[in-house]
Amino acid sequence: MENYRIFDSELDKLAHKVIQMCSQVNQQIIDVVLALKTADLVIAKKVIINDEYINNLDVKIDKLCQKIFALQQPVASDLRYIISALKINNDLERIGDHAVSIAKRIEPLQDYLQLVEDLGIEVIGIKTTDLFSDVVELVKTHDLAFAEQIMSKAAELKDECKSVAATILTEMMQQSEVVVVAANILIITNLFERISGYSTNIAESITFVVNGEIVKHKKHIENN
């Protein structure tokens, strides 16, 4: 026997906006990876412009969460969902910012597409796209199998980013003429690594929504 509560519509609205935010950020990642691969400045520009939409959505979600906290005093799974929605929203907004940062660094790479490919950034980009499509599914379905998958894929991606960063540094030491462009690529690699970190955060937040378990820092805590 379940009652429809007045604030269920607010929760539905919140869930809808979080998914909308997730889809927008997903599109930004797809676009920026494509722009990076082809050095397409038009697509890069589109990513930069679209960020405003994400920022607006970020504020709307924050306000809606504040409203629900203030007026409905949520508890139990409702409380966990709203706490997580705020955190996920924040992570998504940061990922959006990182997509913009990558987009802004594409122009100087126009004459170095081969180097971008050789250093493996393209592969990192594709893997980030793949990882984030799982994040979108997870946010839609709350299926913890995706959460596990994301945490493990993100850890792999993080390691790959580190390995690529090491290759870039070697390249920089060996070829002084590519130092400037390689430094740019290094920053892009770090941004992809950060996106993988935020994806892990989102998977942890959804785990908290589903079973109330705080899994963040767990490995770190267990190891110490």
Binding site: E2, N3, R5, A76, S77
Partner: protein, 252 residues
């Protein structure tokens, strides 16, 4: 070390043969606030009243199992119920001061317990009113009728009256449900202060109140104890779906 002040074991209660409490086993710790929540008719007030044998006053009530307070079964034949109710005081939903002065309301209990020394009574009255956080509001008019106090003040006076006989446990049956938010806040603050000295058990329909002031929360439904845990656990991640549905308002 936290001791269990109250410990019920497999307790059943019947009203004229109809089961109202079904196999309740619960341990209530000393000097903590324990809240009972649940929908109307779930048995929470019945259970509260059975902790100082107030149900004895109702015809047709039959109780099985044990209700141990300080390891003594309060339903044993040799238990003095008057002494039990001194030890386990009670505050009701509707404040019920006597039509007497503020002073006499507090002094009444100690007097019938044989204390007649004026100086001693003065001390008891002052301490009880101070512990109930109403002394500053009434100290200059102790001779005035208690019925002239506001609802919130009357309820704190009733708490003071309960404290005056020096109980160890205070049972509260929706003590703030008829009060405005300011008076409610004062009662809640008072309850949190009182737990330093007393074991408090409170029945409330206001779940936010249970969340704010209690250390442990018990959820009752259809005469059964469904879940009992730390209040923080109950309100963030309860184990039972029925508890979750009730506290989130999904219960039909």
């Amino acid at each position: 070390m936290i001791l269990d002040k109250i410990d019920t074991k497999n307790m059943f209660l019947y009203y004229s043969g109809k089961m109202a409490l079904n196999n309740i086993s619960i341990q209530i710790p000393e000097k903590k606030v324990t809240a009972f929540i649940g929908p109307s008719g779930c048995g929470k007030s019945t259970f509260l009243r059975s902790l100082n044998r107030m149900n004895d006053l109702i015809d047709g009530v039959k109780i099985e199992g044990k209700v141990m307070i300080d390891s003594i079964n309060i339903y044993d034949k040799n238990i003095d119920v008057v002494n039990l109710r001194k030890k386990v005081g009670m505050v009701f939903q509707k404040s019920n001061p006597f039509a007497k002065s503020i002073y006499e309301n507090i002094a009444y209990g100690p007097k019938i317990n044989g204390i007649n020394n004026k100086h001693q009574l003065d001390e008891i009255v002052e301490t009880a009113l101070k512990n109930a956080a109403i002394w500053d509001e009434v100290k200059d008019r102790l001779g005035d009728s208690a019925l002239g106090l506001s609802g919130g003040q009357q309820q704190r006076l009733c708490i003071a009256r309960t404290l005056a006989v020096n109980p160890e446990i205070v049972l509260m049956d929706e003590p703030a449900s008829a009060l405005d938010p300011l008076s409610t806040a004062k009662i809640e603050e008072l309850i949190v202060q009182l737990k330093e000295l007393y074991t408090i058990v409170i029945v409330t329909h206001n779940m936010q109140q249970a969340a704010r002031i209690s250390d442990n929360t018990a959820f009752f439904y259809l005469g059964e104890l469904i879940e009992y845990d730390k209040t923080r656990k109950i309100f963030t991640n309860p184990d039972k779906k029925q508890t979750e549905d009730y506290i989130t308002g999904r219960f039909g």
